[in-house]
Symmetry: C2
Subunit: 179 residues, 2 copies
């Protein structure tokens, strides 16, 4: 299973792609979509939309994962983040991807083992878990951490789905349980 | 010139299309995109994205107009509206449309003549200005009001552009001034 993790933002949107092979996690790609700030809002959102579609077309993930949003106390920031997030979700949905959302707590717990981990600890653990040569950039690390979180929590969901299937109470499509 | 006005929202997104023929405003179409609330967030945003692209493909507007956002005191509402707005802006930008944004004050002043107009007054004036047989639904009325606002404020911008062109300081593309 190939997972695309996204860390959305209006100025910088991080992405990270990993493969899950049984218990092994394999790094595929990661990077940051840097959005030119001189563009109009619509053009900036279109930059995010286009690049997410490009990443999805190039790496053909099976599923996407995104962090559930942290509500900023500044309403203007919340609105800007919301719009960037909307563009990123559109890019994923437009590429036919189902999106799973995880809280920052779930992601940190899955990657570092503690919900109170600092940003640097997340970067270090992402580097270790994916056997990277160097420390990933913050946006890439957050996107990869989100993908890793989905990889860790997915087996539980899958096992439940298989159980349901054996009992004849569920239907699968693209490896996901329906209904 | 054909203008597409949009009033975005995660549950209901209004759209309105008008033609501007000199001083005359002609109603073309309007409606509300009703987003099924049982869908995932990504699927709801994709509904908005898809329908906006459909409306743009069907009516082929030259330009789009949207209300600048009202910052809700509830951060969760602000985030949801931001995401819906991001999806609507992506749909417009994906259709090659430039988007102009106007404050609620500008829109009410352009349509009713007063920035303190009530929602019902906006509906009534939209009905009168476009010679509609019935009162437009609230979402459609807001979207049409936004398009009317652009029609009213556009001549000023155009005159300025033409002046610049005559002075050789501007370039035009699709009727818009560049640089």
């Amino acid at each position: 299973m190939r997972i695309l993790g996204i860390d959305p933002g209006l100025r910088r949107t991080g992405f990270g792609v990993i493969d899950v092979d049984g218990p092994r996690l394999l790094y595929v790609a990661s990077g940051t979509i840097v959005v030119p700030s001189h563009l109009s809002l619509a053009a900036r959102l279109k930059t995010i939309l286009d690049h997410i579609r490009e990443v999805a077309a190039e790496h053909r993930p099976d599923i996407a994962a995104m962090e559930k949003v942290f509500l900023n106390t500044n309403p203007t920031s919340t609105l800007l983040l919301g719009q960037a997030r909307g563009a990123a979700l559109c890019g994923l949905a437009d590429s036919g991807l189902e999106v799973h959302e995880y809280t920052a707590l779930q992601i940190k717990k899955a990657v570092v083992g503690s919900g109170r981990a600092a940003k640097e600890q997340v970067q270090h653990m992402v580097q270790r878990l994916l056997a990277l040569n160097g420390l990933p950039a913050p946006d890439s690390a957050d996107a990869l951490a989100c993908a890793i979180c989905h990889a860790h929590l997915q087996p539980v969901a899958l096992a439940l789905s298989r159980n349901k299937l054996l009992q004849g109470t569920g239907r699968m499509r693209n490896g996901r349980l329906l209904g």
